[in-house]
Symmetry: C2
Subunit: 211 residues, 2 copies
């Protein structure tokens, strides 16, 4: 079988999310870095892979796949990863938790969006940090409230890591990077501690490429 | 069976999305308006339904469900709506298309986000329109490019409306409201015309409540 290729940027949290999922799914892959700081995501070579000009893009099973959340569902459907529980209410709860992060925090804090805010406000870089802290904190506070539910176990839903945990850890990485207050989010903190102990999560932690 | 209740705001495009899906699924429901202009979404009564303070919330099958995209997957799984095709690559393509809108346009153009931009830029209301046009146009241009694919049929994927179409029509409603240039997006335009001819879409079009 052809080797899977992940078009990745080490600091993209959508890429981080997908690296965790690939690790948990046991899919071997190599990465090609698309340097967002150098604008490589909107160069012709990458736009031909993804007209959105975003990472990640995954080449797998002879397909070229975009949108991290769609790809993770694909891995779950084709590799039986158990990222979603078997029952429809449970699946809905896990997707809803995941989307609190993947829809209502992550896109708003995408670098291209935050840079647009900085441009509109006259170029003050401090605005970017305030923007990140405002929306990350708002979303994580709601996420913490939603964890106050009998469905929560050692992980966000039950006792094995799934789609919500896969979204949570990259968002926490960003939260820490931007100095978001997290100490009071105790359910999130406990789950994060368990995720850190899982090899699939640990191996996906962002690290700058060696060159 | 208990009647389904949709906590709705007539102009919310996430609610609009869910109204289309409920219509296509043939699920009868009544709506309760949560007036976003009056701040009802963050009042105690609604926060008890959804700690995110967002609409829509759907009460169905004895469950209280949040996050429109998770709810639409639930309807598809429990009612066999065919919102996603049967094959894994097709399902991934439809989810990726849907997420170009539901992740990379809609949350950025959420009213609370756009208002935050207006506040940061000193209260100039014109900034809101520029913000909307920038991000809606950027996303729809990518969506149009992704429709240049053999999977596209009379609708976004094949010849029946699905998850991507359900996301597209509310986004076009917003695009028109904010004056986004759409004339060159001809694949989108042709699909929109077909959706307008479907009863499930037509019955979901935003209309102010009668009072």
């Amino acid at each position: 079988m052809t080797e899977a290729v992940l078009y990745d940027y080490w600091r993209s949290s959508a890429s981080y999310r997908l690296r965790i999922a690939l690790n948990l799914a046991g899919v071997a892959y190599r990465t090609e870095q698309v340097d967002l700081r150098a604008g490589e995501q909107v160069a012709d070579a990458h736009m031909a892979r993804n007209p959105q000009g975003f990472v990640p893009v995954l080449e797998l099973d002879g397909l070229r796949l975009t949108q991290s959340m769609a790809i993770i569902e694909y891995l779950d459907e084709t590799r039986g990863c158990g990222f979603l529980p078997d029952d429809a209410p449970g699946r809905t709860r896990v997707r809803a938790l995941a989307y609190v992060i993947a829809m209502d925090i992550h896109p708003i804090c995408n670098l291209s969006v935050a840079k647009h805010v900085v441009d509109l406000t006259g170029g003050d870089k401090a605005v970017m940090g305030d923007w990140m802290r405002h929306f990350i904190r708002r979303g994580l506070v709601a996420f913490e409230a939603l964890l106050d539910d009998p469905g929560t176990g050692a992980f966000c839903h039950g006792d094995r890591p799934g789609l919500a945990d896969i979204c949570l850890m990259p968002q926490l990485y960003n939260a820490e990077r931007w100095g978001v207050e997290l100490a009071d989010l105790v359910r999130i903190g406990a789950i994060a501690e368990r995720c850190r102990g899982e090899q699939g999560f640990a191996a996906a932690i962002p690290a700058p490429p060696p060159d």
